[in-house]
């Protein structure tokens, strides 16, 4: 990623803060939105983007973040439904070319993947990581015994 892109990160929890800080450090123009402005403390010192405190379920907040100019939107609030709605708004109303959606609940994730969202289920990913690590530990045990 050489070109500097305009990226909106929606939700500044632990995941959102890491993504926003990292993308900003890579030289991209990042705007991060969260309803709770105390979450902006999670951002790293290297973060040089903008932060907007506001309810992302409100159209005017997304407009104030200039979502229509964004090349990428990443929805990572703690609420699945909010991520789903914001992502669909980003795609259809603001015409953002790349939209990524975090969905915790695997059942919902499956449905919205079929409906055309690019979804990432952090729950599924964690489960896989746990199982892989467990398998490695068991393999070591088997070798040693």
């Amino acid at each position: 990623m050489k070109k500097s892109l305009y990226i909106a990160v929606i939700g500044c929890g632990r995941l959102g803060a890491i993504l926003a800080s990292d993308l900003s450090k890579q030289g991209h123009k990042v705007v991060v939105i969260d309803v709770d402005n105390s979450t902006f403390n999670h951002l790293s010192k290297e973060f040089s983007g903008f932060s907007i405190a506001g309810n992302t379920a409100e159209m005017s907040v997304l407009e104030s973040a200039k979502l229509d100019q964004a090349e990428i939107a990443i929805a990572v609030t703690g609420k699945d439904n909010l991520n789903i709605m914001v992502s669909q708004l980003a795609k259809t109303v603001f015409e953002v070319p790349i939209v990524l959606t975090r969905i915790l609940d695997p059942a919902r994730e499956e449905i919205y993947q079929k409906l055309g969202l690019t979804t990432i289920s952090t729950t599924k990913i964690s489960a896989v990581a746990f199982l892989d690590t467990l398998q490695q530990k068991l393999n070591v045990l088997n070798v040693n015994s």
Partner: protein
């Protein structure tokens, strides 16, 4: 018709009651156990406690056999997701969603929701149309007069002045849907107080209307 209602406030309550009276089969999905129990005592409907936006809960409500899903919560994202899952995943033919942010209305319909309605927009339109009003204006009667919507203005002789809504002891079956004060309209809370010159939009069953008027104006119609 089989109807699923998702919501936990007065709107969901009155609508379910109306649908039950019209012999529809109603299932209410309510996220709050205490509210759900209250609903189940007051309305002849199936009441399910849970997240009405989740596929498992919708399935429990027999969404596949349902003709209409109404999502009426105060969160737009929940209303959107409930209707989309019902429609696209379970094949419900008709969905209606409340939009709290009027700016979402068109987007919801673009996303396939059959009807997206904004209470704010409806009230704003009504108020604009009624630039000329007298003390009491009958806006309309809903469903052959089962509910009436009226507007009144509070004068200096009103016994309700400076009182909060929760102290007024309004009859059940009647509510103040909106207060218009100095050209600003808002939906009141229990602690909102009433002032001279306030215009109130009243939503009431006819049998409670007279009592409501008396509390607010000091005189019966």
């Amino acid at each position: 018709m089989r109807i699923i209602l998702i919501g936990d406030d007065q709107l969901a309550y009155f609508l379910s009651k109306k649908f039950v009276a019209e012999k529809h089969r109603v299932t209410i999905i309510n996220a709050h156990p205490a509210e759900a129990i209250k609903f189940s005592h007051q309305i002849k409907a199936t009441v399910i406690v849970g997240d009405g936006t989740h596929p498992t809960i919708l399935k429990e409500a027999e969404v596949e056999k349902t003709d209409l899903v109404l999502a009426l919560t105060s969160h737009d994202e929940d209303n959107l997701v409930a209707c989309q899952i019902a429609q696209h995943y379970y094949g419900v033919p008709r969905t209606i969603a409340l939009v709290n942010d009027p700016a979402h209305q068109q987007f919801f319909e673009q996303m396939g929701i059959n009807v997206a309605f904004s209470a704010t927009q409806i009230l704003a339109n009504l108020i604009e149309k009624r630039a000329d009003f007298e003390d009491i204006t009958n806006f309309f009667a809903v469903d052959r007069g089962q509910i009436t919507v009226t507007e009144i203005i509070l004068h200096e002789d009103s016994p309700a002045l400076q009182k909060t809504l929760q102290n007024l002891e309004l009859p059940t079956g009647a509510l103040i849907g909106c207060i218009i004060r100095e050209e600003r309209a808002f939906v009141p809370h229990g602690w909102s107080n009433l002032q001279i010159g306030d215009r109130l939009i009243l939503i009431s069953q006819p049998e409670h209307y007279e009592q409501l008027l008396e509390i607010l104006t000091g005189k019966a119609e």
